[in-house]
């Protein structure tokens, strides 16, 4: 396996990890399988496209073609995607959490509502912008580095570094802040959290905004490799969900490891001459199903040596 393949695998893994961690945290702390995560992804991508499109002339006029201009462009793209993702989280909170969270069978109701939101958002994007894909400005620039004889594209390196950066921030927040402590308590035992004065209503909003922002970040980073389209969120949603399952729903380290495993598996299968790209999805799902048959609690179950 050469270096280019490893970079490609990590590139896939970082997008998958951003989606899977969000879905995993949401499930265990809010109790929602968020089917609208794909819509958040697509909407954030379109918002970044609109904002960068609107700001392009302004930035070009004021800053010209300097390094500062491309930095401003990158900030506008990532910032707008993050903020839109967080706002999508607020919408999901208002529609799929607040009205129904203490009703019986809440997880199923929330699944149906978020699925509805997903379909509505995708159709709304199709209605407004049409089915054509839109290219976003390349914030990492065009070009490649030569490292030990292999070429690494800027967008791949930028995606990996950006994803690692934002995941470190997220995990640090979960680990060291007081709100993060409350979220972790809620993830591990909802009843114990209630007896510690931690309410689901109060933790759900920041968690939904955070996971929405993660999906927005995934959209901003993936937009550097492929185009943004109304249905762009479908594959990241499916991959994110299945990887969250592979990691053992609710386990953040499990989701991370799962994303890296699937990233390498996909890159590896794609590179095998007699298999090739068309067997990538097949191999991925075969792998996930096999793991879940052998270890129903996923990778998180292997890592977890504590007991309830």
């Amino acid at each position: 396996m050469d270096l280019g393949l490893i970079v490609y695998a990590l590139n896939l893994a970082s997008i998958y990890a951003l989606m899977a961690i969000g879905i995993s945290i949401l499930w265990s702390s809010v109790g929602v399988i968020n089917m609208a995560h794909g819509a958040t992804f697509a909407v954030s991508g379109y918002a970044a496209w609109l904002v960068t499109g609107a700001l392009k002339p302004v930035i070009a006029a004021s800053l010209g073609k300097t390094a500062l201009a491309s930095a401003a462009m990158a900030g506008a793209l990532v910032g707008s995607a993050l903020i839109t993702g967080a706002l999508c989280g607020v919408v999901i909170y208002l529609l799929a959490f607040l009205p129904i969270h203490d009703k019986p069978n809440y997880p199923v109701r929330a699944l149906i509502i978020t699925l509805g939101l997903n379909i509505a958002a995708v159709q709304g994007l199709l209605w407004t912008f049409g089915p054509r894909s839109q290219g976003l400005p390349k914030i990492f620039g065009f070009g490649r580095w030569e490292v030990w004889g292999t070429k690494i594209r800027y967008d791949q390196a930028g995606t990996i570094i950006g994803a690692i950066l934002i995941m470190t921030l997220t995990l640090g927040w979960l680990r060291y802040s007081r709100r993060g402590l409350e979220v972790r308590a809620m993830m591990q035992n909802a009843e114990g959290a209630a007896y510690s004065g931690i309410s689901r209503q109060a933790t759900a909003l920041p968690v939904l905004m955070l996971t929405g922002a993660l999906a927005g970040m995934a959209a901003a980073l993936l937009s550097q490799t492929i185009f943004v389209s109304p249905t762009a969120g479908v594959i990241p949603l499916i991959k994110g969900l299945t990887i969250a399952l592979l990691g053992g729903l609710g386990s953040v380290p499990g989701a991370l490891i799962g994303a890296v495993l699937v990233g390498f598996l996909e890159a590896g299968v794609g590179a095998v001459p007699f298999l090739g790209q068309r067997y990538v999805q097949f191999a991925t799902f075969l792998f996930i199903i096999t793991v879940l048959i052998i270890r129903p609690r996923g990778i998180g179950g292997l890592l977890d040596d504590t007991r309830e």
């Binding site: 035992n189 009843e191 510690s196």
Partner: protein, 231 residues
């Protein structure tokens, strides 16, 4: 004696099952109540109903004169964090621990008031004084601790913030006699500002120490006796 808790006509249950049948109970300031009764006769449900954790409930509960009861057919646990913040400390049955948090982080979770959070270090130190076996385990994951240590962590979490009413459900459940005695001794030694209800099957652990003993049978209170010594 001022009335701290006033329960009247409290019924509660789960789905079609009615566990508590129109309970009336008044608890005064500074009282330590021993709630005794067999398995499945409603001790835990009474404690859960006081924090709106039962499946459904109806009837009045007054804490310091403020109504916190009411009729509710669903939404178990929705009001619980608010009631905890109003001054009901709970050490639930089965401990409800956070397996992936260290003992210290776990105790910090219990410091939900502003004052408690500000002086959490001193308070954690105080908990370690009450339960010395926890001190060397400060950074251990709670999910790896033994049953007795978990019980101490769960009670410690309850003690991190001041409460008006402490509810402790089966502190001796599943523990070796020696450890359960130690846990009970620690509970009796606590300086109680409000009131405390300890639900317990093992009557001998309560005799001589509880101010009042209340029996529960088939979802009703039976027998309300003052200071007793069965020994």
């Amino acid at each position: 004696m001022p009335e701290l808790l006033e329960i009247s006509q409290l019924s509660a249950g789960y789905g079609p099952l009615r566990v508590l049948h129109e309970i009336d109970l008044i608890i005064g300031e500074g009282e330590r109540i021993g709630l005794v009764g067999l398995n499945g006769h409603g001790k835990t449900t009474l404690i859960r109903a006081l924090t709106h954790m039962a499946g459904w409930q109806q009837g009045s509960i007054k804490l310091d004169g403020a109504e916190i009861g009411g009729t509710r057919s669903q939404g178990a646990g929705r009001r619980t964090p608010g009631l905890v913040k109003r001054g009901i400390g709970v050490a639930p049955q089965g401990d409800a621990i956070f397996p992936g948090l260290s003992v210290r982080r776990h105790l910090e979770c219990g410091a939900h008031t502003k004052a408690a959070w500000r002086e959490r270090r001193q308070r954690i130190d105080r908990i370690f004084d009450i339960f010395p076996p926890l001190r060397p385990l400060e950074h251990a994951l709670v999910g790896k601790l033994s049953g007795g240590e978990r019980r101490m962590v769960s009670i410690g979490r309850m003690l991190m913030a001041e409460a008006r009413l402490y509810l402790i459900d089966e502190p001796s459940l599943g523990l070796a006699p020696k450890i359960s005695h130690r846990v009970m001794e620690a509970l009796w030694d606590l300086p109680v500002t409000g009131a405390m209800i300890i639900a317990e099957q093992n009557v001998t652990l309560l005799t001589g120490r509880a101010d009042r003993m209340i029996g529960m049978h088939a979802g009703r209170l039976r027998g309300d006796v003052g200071h007793v010594d069965l020994a």
